[in-house]
C-alpha cells in the first residue's frame, strides 16, 4: 500500500491512516485534542486571543481540533440541559468524549447505579457525536475482587455505549484484563505519565479495534504527587518525545484500529493545545513509517 496516498487530512485535527483492523485493511481516523477546552490560562498563554470570553472558547478550539474530552462531567453529574446548551454553540463537526462523574470512580457511593442512570440520561444529547465515555479509575483502585466486580457493574451499566477505561494501578496490566476488555469491545486507555514506581505502564495494547484511546498527562516527576494540579500537569513535551510516542505507540495502534483519539492533559500554561498541534504536524508528515507498520 502506498503510504503517502493513504494519509489524508479529514477534518481539522484529524488524520486518516491505513489499518488492518479485523484483519481487513482500511483507514484509521486519528483525531488529536485536549482534555477540556475552557481554561483562562490558555488566554494568558496565547492559544486563545487576548480577551476571549469562556463562551467563545469552544468555537475557537474547533479551528484547531475536531475532538475534545469533556472533563467537567467528572466534577459534576452530566446534565442534558447543560450539554444541549453547549452543543448549540459547538460546531457540528466536533466530536466528544465524556469523563464519567467522580461519584462513580473516585468517590463512589452506595447509589452508584442511580448515578450511572443519571449519567446516561445526562449525556444523551451527544448522541452519535459521542466517541467514548471515559472511566478514569484512581491510582488506588487495584485489581481486587471487590474492584473487579464494581468495574464489571459499571461496564454493564454502560452497555450499548462506547466506553474507554483508564487504569492507574499497575495490577490491571495483565493479559486476562486485556482479553476481557477485548471481549466486551471496550478500549483500554494508553496512558503516558511520569515513570514512577507503581505507575501504570505505557502500553500499545489495543483492546477495541473500533477505537484506540491515548491520554498524555505529561512527565512531571516532581509534581506528580504534589496534590497541586498546576504542578502535576505542568509539562511541555519535547519534539523528540512526541516523535518517540508516535513511533513506539501511536502508529502501531493506528495500524490495528479503525479510529483513534489522542488527548493531551498537560493543560498548564497552554501546553496541551500547543503539544497537540505539534503532534498533528508530526503525524501528518509521517509517511514511510506507516507503510512499514502496515507491512
Amino acid at each position: 500500500m502506498a503510504a503517502d496516498s493513504s494519509i489524508e487530512p479529514c477534518r481539522v485535527g484529524e488524520l486518516v491512516y491505513p489499518s488492518v483492523a479485523y484483519g481487513i485493511e482500511g483507514p484509521c481516523k486519528v483525531s488529536v485534542g485536549t482534555c477540556g477546552y475552557s481554561y483562562n490560562e490558555w488566554v494568558d498563554s496565547g492559544f486563545y486571543p487576548q480577551g476571549t470570553m469562556t463562551s467563545d472558547m469552544l468555537a475557537l478550539y474547533c479551528s484547531c481540533f475536531s475532538v475534545v474530552e469533556l472533563n467537567y462531567t467528572w466534577y459534576q453529574m452530566a446534565r442534558a440541559e447543560a450539554l444541549s446548551r453547549m452543543l448549540e454553540s459547538a460546531p457540528s463537526q466536533l466530536l466528544f468524549s465524556a469523563k464519567l462523574t467522580r461519584t462513580m470512580t473516585h468517590d463512589p457511593g452506595s447509589d452508584w447505579q442511580e448515578q450511572l442512570l443519571a449519567f446516561r440520561q445526562g449525556i444523551a444529547p451527544l448522541k452519535d457525536r459521542l466517541l467514548a465515555i471515559l472511566i478514569q479509575l484512581p491510582a488506588e483502585f487495584d485489581r481486587s475482587v471487590v474492584n473487579r466486580n464494581y468495574l464489571a457493574g459499571l461496564l454493564g451499566g454502560l452497555e450499548g455505549l462506547p466506553v474507554a477505561v483508564e487504569f492507574r494501578h499497575p495490577s490491571w496490566a495483565i493479559d486476562s484484563v486485556f482479553v476481557e476488555l477485548e471481549r466486551r469491545e471496550i478500549s483500554m486507555v494508553t496512558v503516558d505519565e511520569p515513570e514512577l514506581p507503581g505507575a501504570f505502564p505505557f502500553l500499545d495494547v489495543v483492546t477495541n479495534p473500533r477505537l484506540f484511546y491515548v491520554r498524555l498527562h505529561g512527565r512531571n516527576v516532581s509534581g506528580w504527587h504534589s496534590g497541586n494540579m498546576q504542578k502535576k500537569f505542568n509539562y511541555d513535551y519535547a519534539d523528540a518525545e512526541l516523535r518517540d510516542v508516535r513511533d513506539r505507540h501511536l502508529l502501531r495502534m493506528a495500524a490495528r484500529s479503525t479510529r483513534g483519539v489522542i488527548f493531551f492533559n498537560n493543560h498548564v500554561q497552554g501546553r496541551a493545545p500547543e503539544n497537540a498541534k505539534h503532534l498533528l504536524k508530526i503525524l501528518a508528515k509521517q509517511g514511510d513509517s506507516i507503510g512499514a507498520f502496515n507491512g
Binding site: 475552557s38 480577551g51 470570553m53 469562556t54 459534576q76 447543560a82 497541586n228
Partner: protein, 411 residues
C-alpha cells in the same frame, strides 16, 4: 462591543458557593457519630415554648420546619432525637471551614453560623488550577478534615452560584459556565431568585410571571410600571447579572464578637439587657486586654420568626470603657428592637478597632470620676482574669428575672 470590553481587560469572575445543608445537624453528627442515621431536631431543651433551630433531612421529610414549636415538631416526627443548640460549637466548625477556604482565596464571605460561604477564586487559576477543581478539592478536604459534606456550586457571580445551590440540596455540585447565566435561570421558578420581597413575588404571580425567564423577557421600562424603582434591579437579576463583590472578611484581630442565645425566646427587656451587659463585659475585657478601643458597636438581633435586624452606634474617638460601651450597646439595641416579636439570639460586634492612645489627658487631675472608673475596671479585669469572664460585672447584669426569682426563693 465585545472587543471593547476585552480591551479594558475585564476578567470573568469565578465565585464558588459552599453550603452545608442543616449545618447544626451536620456538626452535631460529627461530634457524635451515633447520631448519623437518626432523625434529629435541634431546639432549646429547657425552653417552655422553644422553637426548632435546625433539623435533619429525615425530620424535614416528616414535616418539621425551622421556627416550628418543639411540641408540634415532636408530634410530627416522633422518632426524632432532640438536641440543644450549641452555637459555640457551630462557630468553631465555621472557623475550621473558613481555614480550609483561606488556603485558596482571601476573598471569603460567610453567613452567620449557617455553613454558607462565598469564595471569589477569580484569577487564581495559575496557582490552583481551574475553579471547578478548586471547588472539588475544598469539598474533598472539608469532608476529610471536618467530616461534613458541603454542596458546592460555581458561577460567574454570587447570584448564579446561590441559585445553583438551591437546585442540588442536600448534597451535590453545580457548575454554571460563563455566558450561560440567563439560559440557566430561564426555566427556573421565580421563587428561586434571591433578593425578591414578598410583595414583589405576589405581584409577579398576579402577572403570571412564574419563571425567571418570563421576567427576563420584560424590558426595564415594562417592569417600571409594576415595580417602580426596582425595575432595573429585577431586570438584572433575571438575566443573572450581579456585580456585588465578595469582601475580605474581618480577621479576629479586627473585631470583637460576643453572642447569646436565649433559652426561651423572649421579649423581656430586662432579660435582653442583662444578656447584653454580660456580652459588653466580655467585649470590654477583650478590648482592654488588646489595648484597643472600638469606634462602632453593633447589635444583631434574631427574632423567633427568623427575621434578623442589625443596627450600630458609633463613638467618634473610640472607647473600651465598660460604661460607655454599655451606653453604645443599648443605643444600638434601641435602634434594632422595633418589633414585638420575641427575640431568640443577640450578637454584639465591636469593630473599627484602633490602638488605644497612650497619650494622657492634659487635665487628668480634674477627671476624678474617669480615673475612678478606670481603677474599678482594672480591678474587675483582674478578678475576671482570675475567676472567669462572668465572675463580676455591672449591676445591670444581675437584673434578670431569673436572678430576681432566685433571690426571692432564697429570701
Amino acid at each position: 462591543m465585545h472587543s471593547m470590553v476585552s480591551g479594558f481587560g475585564l476578567r470573568e469572575r469565578s465565585i464558588l458557593h459552599f453550603n452545608v445543608a442543616d449545618f447544626a445537624v451536620a456538626v452535631e453528627r460529627v461530634a457524635d457519630c451515633s447520631l448519623r442515621d437518626k432523625s434529629l431536631i435541634v431546639a432549646p431543651l429547657h425552653a417552655n415554648r422553644g422553637l426548632v433551630y435546625d433539623m435533619s433531612e429525615e425530620a424535614y421529610r416528616d414535616g418539621v420546619r425551622k421556627g416550628m414549636p418543639i411540641k408540634q415538631a415532636m408530634r410530627v416526627s416522633k422518632k426524632a432525637v432532640l438536641l440543644s443548640p450549641r452555637p459555640q460549637l457551630y462557630q468553631k466548625a465555621m472557623g475550621a471551614f473558613l481555614k480550609e477556604l483561606q488556603r485558596y482565596s482571601p476573598l471569603i464571605e460567610s453567613g452567620q453560623i449557617d455553613g454558607h460561604f462565598f469564595v471569589d477564586v477569580t484569577g487564581s487559576h495559575r496557582l490552583y488550577g481551574p475553579p471547578a477543581d478548586v471547588g472539588w478539592r475544598i469539598r474533598r478536604d472539608v469532608r476529610k478534615q471536618l467530616g461534613i459534606n458541603p454542596i458546592w456550586t460555581l458561577g460567574s457571580n454570587r447570584l448564579v452560584s446561590k441559585v445553583a445551590s438551591r437546585l442540588v440540596k442536600p448534597v451535590g455540585e453545580y457548575i454554571v459556565n460563563h455566558g450561560e447565566e440567563a439560559s440557566f435561570l430561564a426555566p427556573l421558578p421565580i421563587e428561586l431568585l434571591p433578593g425578591l420581597n414578598l410583595k414583589e413575588l405576589e405581584k409577579m404571580r398576579e402577572f403570571h410571571l412564574t419563571t425567571i425567564g418570563a421576567l427576563a423577557q420584560l424590558t426595564p421600562n415594562q417592569l417600571m410600571v409594576p415595580f417602580g424603582g426596582r425595575s432595573g434591579v429585577l431586570h438584572a437579576l433575571s438575566h443573572g447579572i450581579d456585580d456585588t463583590l465578595i469582601h475580605k472578611p474581618s480577621t479576629q484581630t479586627d473585631i470583637v464578637v460576643g453572642e447569646h442565645t436565649f433559652a426561651n425566646d423572649t421579649s423581656d427587656r430586662n432579660e435582653v439587657e442583662a444578656a447584653l451587659a454580660t456580652l459588653v463585659g466580655r467585649a470590654g475585657l477583650a478590648l482592654r486586654g488588646q489595648k484597643k478601643v472600638t469606634r462602632r458597636v453593633g447589635i444583631w438581633l434574631s427574632y423567633c420568626d427568623g427575621v434578623q435586624v442589625i443596627r450600630q452606634a458609633t463613638h467618634k474617638t473610640g472607647t473600651s470603657a465598660e460604661s460607655l460601651l454599655q451606653s453604645l450597646a443599648l443605643l444600638a439595641l434601641k435602634r434594632c428592637w422595633q418589633r414585638r416579636t420575641r427575640i431568640r439570639y443577640c450578637r454584639l460586634v465591636c469593630d473599627r478597632l484602633q490602638r488605644q492612645s497612650p497619650q494622657l489627658s492634659l487635665f487628668a487631675g480634674n477627671d476624678t470620676r474617669g480615673i475612678k472608673s478606670r481603677h474599678v475596671e482594672g480591678a474587675m479585669d483582674s478578678i475576671r482574669k482570675r475567676f472567669g469572664c462572668d465572675s463580676i460585672g455591672l449591676g445591670r447584669k444581675y437584673r434578670s428575672p431569673a436572678a430576681e426569682n432566685r433571690s426571692q426563693i432564697s429570701g
